[in-house]
């Protein structure tokens, strides 16, 4: 469904962030994209959804195709219209607008009144907590509710593929659990999901497939079981040593402590 091939992205003509990223999101699946800060996950998201421009970034090589159609170079609204919706890192809800207006903004590409109503109902079903706060300013919602609103907003576009950028960032474990369940629910409603996460445990627990990024390219991919079993993944993403004990940062090999450019 979504096919990213050999993608290279340069910021400001000087900073090379993605160096040959390739990944694939099959229809109807949940794919996890893991990586430490600065690995280029968010850049990958921007490259897919076409909002690199405003960050002074350029795709210099490679391509992104969606349902067989090339989408790199298209503008964001065309990409959303084709069925890719995204939830930005840090929720980014429109705090000054009401919950309902946030959802209406999410439905911008959707001009059919009936399908807007349907999408709205679906969101209310998924997130019953929003039901009672429809007229409230979004800024007054709690962090978890804001995340739900952000996901709901993205669903208003009736996407075929939903990309979530760190949806559990800064949420309590209870809420992480809740969000996880919601993602599974959404996936059941025939929406493919690309889940960008640092919380590898959570992501790999629901994903059908996982990619691990480091410095702009995929360094490892495979089934969640395979990834979860890998020593390095355990060490860096799950914070566990092979024997289950923490390792001092000083013991980590020098090259693994490399400097991060953009975070």
């Amino acid at each position: 469904m979504l096919e990213v091939a050999n993608l290279e992205v340069v910021y400001n003509d000087v900073v090379l962030v993605l160096r040959g990223l390739s990944l694939n999101v099959p229809d109807g699946e949940i794919v996890a994209l893991l990586g430490a800060n600065g690995a280029g996950k968010t850049t990958a998201l921007r490259a897919i959804t076409g909002i690199l421009d405003i960050h002074e970034g350029d795709i210099t090589k490679g391509s992104v195709t969606f349902d067989g159609e090339q989408i790199d170079g298209k503008d964001p609204s065309a990409i959303v219209r084709m069925g890719i919706a995204q939830v930005l890192e840090g929720r980014r809800i429109f705090a000054e607008m009401t919950v309902d207006d946030n959802l209406r903004a999410g439905a911008f590409t959707n001009t059919n009144k009936a399908s807007i109503t349907a999408a709205h109902e679906r969101v209310m079903d998924l997130f019953p907590v929003l039901q009672g706060r429809r007229k409230d300013s979004a800024g007054y919602l709690s962090g978890g509710e804001q995340q739900m609103l952000a996901i709901g907003r993205a669903l208003m576009a009736d996407p075929k593929l939903l990309i979530l950028d760190e949806p559990t960032l800064g949420l309590a474990p209870m809420l992480v659990q809740q969000i996880r369940d919601i993602i599974v629910d959404i996936n059941r409603q025939d929406v493919s999901v690309l889940l960008i996460e640092q919380n590898a445990n959570m992501a790999l627990s629901i994903a059908n497939y996982g990619y691990i990024m480091e410095t702009g390219k995929v360094v490892m991919d495979g089934d969640p079981q395979k990834l979860l079993g890998d020593e390095d993944v355990k060490e860096f993403y799950l914070g566990l040593h092979s024997e289950g004990e923490r390792k001092s940062f000083r013991d980590v090999k020098h090259y693994k402590r490399r400097k991060r450019w953009l975070s």
Partner: protein, 329 residues
């Protein structure tokens, strides 16, 4: 308002009431035009975070178009002779507003769009340069003499109690009201919601498939249309009895305190601020004159809006209705 009138009646009799009514009515009429100007400025600021210094130039351009359409071409009146003259003129004015909106659209596309993401004051500087360009061309159009707009109200007046109000002033008030309601309704529409979203967080709005460029263009078009409306109605009797001239464009600067008093990003604030400024200027002009106030020097009324603005800002640093910027480390 009533008690104030009674106090004046007590103190100075009919003459004082007349004076007060006169100052109030002209303050409101002036405020209506400031409100129109402020409305356009705020709309553009809200959507694109740009303070548009070319607003006055667009206002003059709109007024010129109206003058040209109404007095020279008689367009579209010549095709609609069955309409009453007032309607014919209003149609000309409407067409002028639309043309100016189109100009706003083009300007946004050519000069503002490439600046998305650049430092704010660079964009402000662009609008200043645009002001020079538009004003120069408009001045050339206007020619050597100012151009009357040929409006149907002429120098006609109403007598409303002690105040004498020009018909064109009433028209201005009505148009301001219509614009305000129109803008309020617009913000509830699909594009209005999208504009508010873009204003709040451009990237997040783009992620929802909202084309920021189209929203910016729309904001500039509406802003330019509002500027033209303000320009047209500020070129009528008695504010400017000779129509649009090469000084019309400077009028817009007088509305700047209004948008700060109201709060830069508040539509309600723009209108309230406009009327506050209009009244402040009018009252200062009516009462702070004469020997008692001679120490205030020449033209103190023109400074009054800025003094009101300072007072408001000391109490509320983001204006009366402006949203406070949330600052985080």
């Amino acid at each position: 308002m009533m008690p104030a009138i009674l106090v004046f009646a007590e103190a100075g009799g009919q003459e004082a009431i007349d004076k007060f009514a006169n100052a109030t009515s002209s303050g409101i009429a002036l405020g209506a035009i400031y409100a129109l100007l402020a409305l356009g400025l705020v709309l553009i600021y809200k959507a694109t975070q740009v303070l548009n210094f070319a607003h006055g130039a667009l206002a003059a351009l709109g007024a010129f178009f109206a003058a040209y359409l109404a007095t020279v071409l008689n367009f579209p009146g010549r095709y609609a002779t069955f309409l009453p003259l007032t309607m014919q003129w209003l149609l000309s004015a409407l067409v002028a507003v639309l043309i100016t909106a189109l100009v706003g659209l083009v300007l946004e596309r050519l000069a503002i769009r490439p600046m998305i993401g650049e430092p704010l004051f660079s964009v402000v500087m662009i609008t200043i340069a645009l002001d020079i360009v538009i004003r120069t061309i408009t001045d050339d159009f206007i020619g050597n003499n100012p151009r009357p707009l040929g409006d149907p109200w002429g120098a006609d007046v109403f007598n409303v109690g002690p105040a004498i109000i020009a018909k064109s002033e009433v028209a201005t008030l009505i148009v301001t009201l219509i614009c305000l309601i129109g803008i309020a309704l617009f913000f509830r529409s699909r594009y209005g919601v999208a504009m508010r979203a873009t204003a709040f967080d451009q990237e997040a709005a783009m992620a929802q498939g909202i084309s920021a460029g189209r929203i910016f263009a729309l904001a500039w078009a509406i802003g330019a249309g509002l500027a033209a409306t303000a320009g047209i109605f500020s070129s009528l009797f008695p504010r400017s009895s000779i129509g649009v001239s090469n000084t019309t464009a400077f009028f817009a600067f007088r509305a700047l305190p209004a948008i700060v008093i109201g709060g830069l990003d508040s539509i309600t604030g723009a209108v309230v601020g406009g009327f506050i400024v209009g009244l402040a200027e009018s009252y200062a002009g009516a009462y702070l004159v004469g020997d008692t106030w001679s120490f205030l020097g020449l033209g103190f009324a023109g400074v009054m809006p800025y003094i009101v603005m300072l007072v408001v800002l000391i109490v509320r640093p983001y204006g009366l209705f402006g949203t406070e910027e949330i600052r985080r480390v």
